[in-house]
Symmetry: C2
Subunit: 354 residues, 2 copies
DNA sequence: AGTTAGCACTCGGCGGCCAAGAGTGCTAAA
DNA sequence: TTTAGCACTCTTGGCCGCCGAGTGCTAACT
């Protein structure tokens, strides 16, 4: 990308983008003349040049300039100041995570809430997932005469629950014995391996009862479903924060962003991509493959434990987004989440490099 | 409430409300003259009378009529046709619930989604809760050298998870023994009773180890938190459906409704009230105690198993809401949920009577 | 060559105005 | 008691013209 911009031109571009991000109104040459120490006419010339280079536009002849996608991109990659969160903010965030460190299933809620608040836009978080989930533990609990609650714990710490029909008057002791047997049979097994166990019954000295087979099949099915339906587990927060931005002046925009967040748009392309790459990903406006995201920017980062389990945190906002702050927020939260996961697994974490 | 309305006046009121609900525009006397077989002037006279009675208003001199809160109330209680869901819709809903009957934690999601879709507004569902939760089962699973995952199952079937620090090199067998011991000690106990167990250690022949005390305290704390934080568990869906209503033409409305749904407004008064009463509750506009709900109506019903566990389902929409359909939808979904719970507990269910 | 003052030009936004239309309330007649 | 007729009210939408904001260009200046 055009690195042949001279120093002043860069400063003009940077100033335009910063002010536009700040005020949401096209910026006039006058606005910059003062701070750059040159006349408005000079600024106008520079702006015209930046427009020729495809980094700025204006909406009509007598309107101020605003950045194009390429302009934002150049800003993010070459111009932006790295705005780290203040140590005070960092401490507050750390503290909040510390308080719920033992409640696994609140992590993603907190992450989304904190991210939405610090970046002032909508935040998106997927729960951590293993590349291939492995069986850890199962428990069978009698609920009533005919029903059993099966609690399944996967290796990465996720817990799934499900009810199963049982023979009447099966006692809790019997159930515990069965659970114990299955725990041994399925120890650390993958979904596929468990399917195989249900079918072939290897190493099962007393052959498996029909109920035991049912349980094992349910385990396998639950694990497979879990692997397939990550989509449904995506969590978001901060819609309200985002709606304060002036681009959401009309309700059609709101509907649009709601269906992006609640429909599966993000997941189909962005999240897998973020999971597969290191560092913080910034996708700006029309750079998206999905057309419905044309007016939005997305910042995503993977978090988790390398080679083991990982998830994605990020924000979604209008193209005119506070990139420096959003990017540092995403990076920081991803780091915090990785630390938490690291404590849980005692392995090396993903630290966003770039 | 004014039962001295003559037949024709009732028909006028009913027609006005039905048409207003349908079109969202004030209805003119002309519109009703045809269908009532009288002239528009007559209809105007009747409308004026209904306005004197406080059941209708108009926004300015030359605008059509629209219902007041009292008008809606009269409609709901005396005029409305009971519009049951079609058997086809009922079958579809039944079918969807049947498919996930074994996945407890998907019930509320499905209920909210189905309700939002059939009633075409935002739906709200709280998970079933026991009046006082009792301990059912605990499981301790070694995660790594220093961490243990505690899975706690409450009597009503809810599952909570939490990590605990443990002495290094505690084996899974040791953990299972400890879990077994605690399961016996805490059998069917309430949160208070469990606190007492941790403190006084009655009937504990070998005295409890410090780790065992930690686990028991954690169980107690989790149960207490669960009892206090029902609020955070409220689930909603169908915002998008609701935004299609013309009353959400301006974004301030959207923000308003978002903060109602995500802030705790509903829970503080409405949900406890719905939990305490039988049948379907309809609260219209200004009848709310909370002022922020002045422009909205809420329809709620308790569901669950009588005297044991119960939750709330309902919808939130603009005052101009399709009451007949919404009410039947809420009633029906509450019934379905009660059936599901009944199967789980094998006891008598709450069937909304009125 | 680069910078800047000056100026004409363009365009959106806003307020005022007017006409059209929708609907009512009232009155008087059926 | 109902209804036709009519005056009156109030909203809505379109149209016009003005104002202000900003630009682009040119010519002068350094």
């Amino acid at each position: 990308m055009n690195l042949e911009l001279n120093e002043r031109r860069r400063r003009v571009l940077k100033a335009v983008i910063q002010q536009y991000i700040d005020t949401a109104t096209p910026v006039a040459s006058q606005d910059l003349a003062r701070s750059l120490g040159v006349s408005s006419a000079t600024v106008r010339n520079e702006m015209a040049a930046l427009e020729d280079a495809g980094l700025l536009t204006h909406l009509h002849t007598s309107a101020g300039r605003l950045p194009t996608d390429a302009g934002y991109r150049f800003f993010v990659e070459n111009l932006m100041d790295r705005a780290a969160l203040s140590t005070q903010e960092q401490r507050m965030i750390q503290h909040q995570f510390y308080q719920i460190r033992s409640e696994l299933n609140q992590w993603i809620h907190l992450a989304a809430a904190v991210l939405a608040r610090t970046a002032q836009t909508a935040a998106v978080v997927t729960p951590p997932r293993a590349y291939e989930s492995r069986f850890k533990h199962i428990e069978l609990i009698a609920i009533n005469d005919a029903l059993v609650l099966m609690v399944l714990v996967l290796h990465e710490g996720s817990v799934k629950q499900q009810t199963l029909p049982a023979d009447p008057h099966t006692t809790q002791e019997q159930l515990s014995r069965i659970a114990g047997r299955i725990n041994e049979l399925c120890h650390e097994a993958s979904a596929k391996a468990i399917v195989a166990i249900a079918q072939t019954q290897p190493a099962a000295q007393p052959p498996l009862s029909s109920f035991e087979v049912l349980v094992i099949e349910s385990v396998a099915r639950a694990m497979q479903q879990f692997e397939e339906h990550v989509n449904e587990l995506i969590h978001h927060d901060g819609l309200l924060e985002m709606l304060h931005q002036p681009e959401f002046g009309q309700v059609t925009r709101v509907r649009e962003v709601l269906s992006i967040l609640e429909g599966g748009t993000m997941l189909e392309s962005l999240i897998p991509q973020a999971l597969a790459s290191d560092g913080v990903q910034v996708i700006i406006g029309g750079e998206h493959s999905r057309d419905e995201l044309r007016d939005y920017s997305v910042i995503l980062s993977r978090y988790g434990v390398n080679g083991d389990v990982a998830g994605v945190v990020g924000v979604l906002g209008p193209r005119r987004m506070a990139y420096p702050r959003s990017i540092s927020s995403v990076r920081y939260i991803a780091g915090v989440m990785s630390d938490l996961m690291g404590d849980l697994y005692g392995e090396r974490k993903i630290e966003p490099t770039e």
